[in-house]
């Protein structure tokens, strides 16, 4: 058994449990802050202090295994301002970024936001966002699961996760339609395959099997 401090309470738990399992094991009926249980969705962020350590660390509750002397709480949510917008009605959303997230300009690059459980260089993408390096930002936030831990550290109340998502969406919308998709949609618009499908509907099970195998051989 290990002795840990869980949600401010000193308690013994078996070895090998994750923070979430330790909570369940000790009678915390936790539903909020539980998601995929695979370390992918960012619902279960925790803040913890390891035995003897000085610096608080952050992680995911479903992937952080408790250790002797650990002091840990769940931090599944942090209030951050999120702009409201209808992106489809904007012609060039990137030019409107400063209107929606004016606080971005106040960043003084203190790097306090670099606590990402996915090891994203948050300060780095906030900087490129400020400087107009939008494609680079979009690239960097691909692994962001919007847990909001970074926002909890920002003395200027910037919410990097929402800024990143805004830029990611804007960049994607700016790209021209992929030629292969455009071509397929064109082909489909002339309905050549619809008559094929009308035939399919009339087939019985055995004929359908033959038909499908024939398509693949063609």
């Amino acid at each position: 058994m290990l002795t840990i401090e869980l949600e401010g309470r000193k308690i013994k738990v078996p070895e090998g449990l994750t923070v979430i399992e330790a909570l369940w094991d000790t009678g915390h009926d936790v539903k909020r802050g539980i998601g995929c249980l695979s370390g992918l969705c960012g619902a279960c962020t925790v803040a913890y202090l390891e035995a003897g350590a000085q610096r608080v660390k952050f992680g995911l509750g479903c992937q952080t295994v408790v250790a002797e002397g650990m002091n840990v709480i769940m931090l599944p949510y942090f209030p951050s301002r999120m702009a409201r917008y209808d992106m489809e009605s904007m012609t060039s959303p990137l030019q409107e970024l400063a209107d929606h997230y004016p606080e971005l300009a106040t960043c003084n690059d203190c790097k306090a936001c670099n606590i990402c459980p996915e090891w994203i260089d948050v300060a780095g993408f906030v900087k490129t966002s400020r400087e107009g390096g939008y494609e680079s930002t979009a690239e960097k936030v691909m692994g962001c699961h919007m847990c909001g831990l970074c926002a909890s550290r920002c003395p200027k109340s910037i919410a990097p996760q929402y800024v990143g998502l805004y830029i990611q969406r804007s960049c994607a919308r700016q790209r021209p339609i992929p030629p292969n998709l455009a071509k397929r949609l064109e082909q489909m618009a002339v309905l050549a395959e619809d008559s094929e499908f009308a035939q399919v509907a009339a087939l019985n099970q055995a004929e359908l099997e033959v038909y499908c195998r024939k398509i693949l051989d063609s």
């Binding site: 399992e21 995929c36 992106m87 992929p178 030629p179 398509i215």
Partner: protein, 531 residues
């Protein structure tokens, strides 16, 4: 980090790598395929199934886990609940994953007022966990017809041709819609959508966003949901029963507010069930790749309301679920790894199946190895086989794993396993409910005004779902259900009743069924097995 005895087995994997790279394994003949499935696939283990004694599908073969839920009573005191609606809306969407949000967006686009209720936080769903990608026939050498044939064959022709037709024909249009709202699918140097091959596909058809495809789509969908004031959201409020009118048509639901611990009735002109699958029922004791909320609620609710179901004896066991370390058991390793040529290696250092066979066959082959004593045992007694991921760096290029599988790389970096150097121990994990509630091409069930979308719906994937078809399915049928349900917004819903529940219970009682199980399950019972 691996313990000493696993490291020893790993040495064998490393030392046989060169030899294995020179091998090419033949694809199985039809007879071998049938034999393998019949002997080792969990769907064919007769003792794990029984025939339903009540309801629209009385006599059908379903898993014990589902039969227990369908032949049981609810916690809800249906005779005493206050059925005065607290909210009235046009479209009630149950479920906050990809299918639910898509349905809500499309219903709203036609002017319907939407209320979306979800058990967990909006977006917490299996959609977010979809790693590998989404099928859509956009490649030059591909076509919707090919997509149709592949899907029918993968499902062993048990899928409905009309639903599969809807799936494949909407595919390219769905891609266009997703691009329009700001989803960034990977592209090649020419600006074309990059397409990848996968098990059982006759053309490259998998679109992806690195190895976190679902996450990046869900982020955008959630963001898009907030633009309209016509969509209202209730989080941490699962549905526990549907309501019906005097004619048996669906007209709302009873929700349970987890925070306030009280029930509330919602009246709607149409209801869309999009609460996903049932991995957390842990069929036959299998681990699962599914999220916390995947407890099969949709099928329970719809079945009590009289809806027909289909294929509830067919589940997908994804071949590559993690077996070590203990706290990651069941977590998925994307099929893209196998599609690119990673080897499956047993305890003797041998490959034992062509890794590009369909998921059901590969899973059955892994179970065969383990049952035949050729597995590898972890310190806690779990048994699996190796997935040789590092071989990809030699087959393709150095550094490709970190670049193309950043999510997987990070997941294992946390536990100090470097996937560029170390294979992973894997075993099939319960991944997907192939069957579900019967729907038509508009997404409507056999109960009027009750629509179903996503994993909860049945009839699309037959007896085995091909990789990437579920991510497409949720958008195709989410959209169709959203559009069709919005058209019901001018109807006048009758007063709410739970008469269907009373009738269903009467039948259970007349059969002397007095189950102790309560359904819907809502949340899995967690028994931490390390104690």
């Amino acid at each position: 980090m691996y313990p000493a005895d696993l490291l020893k087995s790993l040495e064998l994997v490393h030392s046989t790598r060169e030899r294995r790279m020179a091998e090419s394994l033949l694809r199985l003949e039809e007879q071998q395929r049938n034999e393998l499935l019949k002997t080792y696939h969990p769907d064919y283990k007769d003792a794990a199934f029984r025939n339903l004694r009540v309801g629209a599908n009385k006599g059908d073969r379903v898993t014990h886990e589902f039969a227990d839920l369908l032949e049981s009573f609810s916690d809800l005191d249906h005779a005493r609940i206050n059925l005065q609606p607290e909210f009235t809306t046009d479209v009630l969407v149950l479920g906050g994953g990809g299918a639910g949000v898509t349905a809500a967006l499309f219903a709203e686009s036609l002017g319907a007022r939407v209320l979306l209720a979800t058990k967990l936080r909006l977006g917490n769903s299996n959609t977010i966990m979809a790693l590998g990608g989404m099928q859509a026939s956009v490649a030059e050498e591909d076509s919707p017809l090919r997509h149709f044939a592949d899907t029918m064959i993968a499902g062993n022709f048990a899928g409905s041709a009309s639903l599969v037709k809807a799936l494949v024909e909407d595919g390219p249009h769905i891609v266009k819609w997703l691009l329009d709202i700001g989803v960034n699918f990977d592209r090649n140097v020419l600006g074309n959508l990059a397409t990848k091959k996968a098990g059982g596909l006759s053309a490259p058809r998998i679109l992806s966003i690195g190895d976190h495809t679902g996450l990046n789509i869900m982020k955008v969908l959630k963001d898009e949901m907030r633009k309209s004031s016509r969509i209202e959201l209730l989080e941490f409020t699962p549905a526990v029963e549907l309501t019906t009118d005097a004619d048996g048509a669906c007209n709302g639901a009873i929700l349970y507010d987890l925070g306030r611990r009280r029930h509330l009735a919602i009246q709607a002109k149409a209801v869309i069930l999009a609460t996903g699958g049932a991995g957390r029922l842990h069929n036959q004791g299998f681990p699962t790749s599914n999220n916390f909320g995947a407890t099969g609620d949709a099928v329970v609710l719809a079945y009590r309301a009289g809806a027909g179901i289909e294929g509830m004896d067919s589940f997908q066991y994804h071949p590559t679920g993690v077996m070590f370390p203990d706290h990651m058991v069941g977590v998925l390793v994307t099929e893209a790894i196998r599609s690119l040529g990673a080897h499956l290696v047993n305890g003797n250092g041998e490959r034992f199946v062509n890794e590009l066979e369909t998921r059901d066959l590969v899973a059955a082959a892994i179970i065969r190895e383990v049952e035949g004593g050729r597995g590898v045992r972890t310190p806690s007694g779990k048994i699996g086989v190796w997935l040789d991921i590092p071989v990809l760096e030699e087959l393709l290029e150095k550094g490709m794993l970190k670049k193309r599988f950043p999510s997987l790389f990070k997941q294992f970096r946390r536990v100090k396993i470097d996937i560029t150097k170390r294979p992973l121990l894997i075993y099939p994990t319960l991944h997907y409910q192939n069957g579900g509630i019967l729907i038509d091409e508009r997404g409507e069930s056999t109960v009027s005004n009750l629509f179903v979308a996503g994993e909860a719906a049945g009839g699309i994937h037959g007896r085995n779902r091909a990789m990437g078809n579920s991510l497409l399915d949720i958008f195709v049928f989410g959209r169709r259900a959203g559009l069709a349900s919005a058209e019901r917004r001018f109807a006048v819903p009758g007063s709410l009743s739970l008469n269907h529940v009373t009738r269903y219970y009467d039948r259970l009682k007349s059969l002397r069924i007095s189950s102790v199980a309560k359904s819907p399950t809502l949340f899995p019972e967690f028994i931490v097995d390390k104690l």
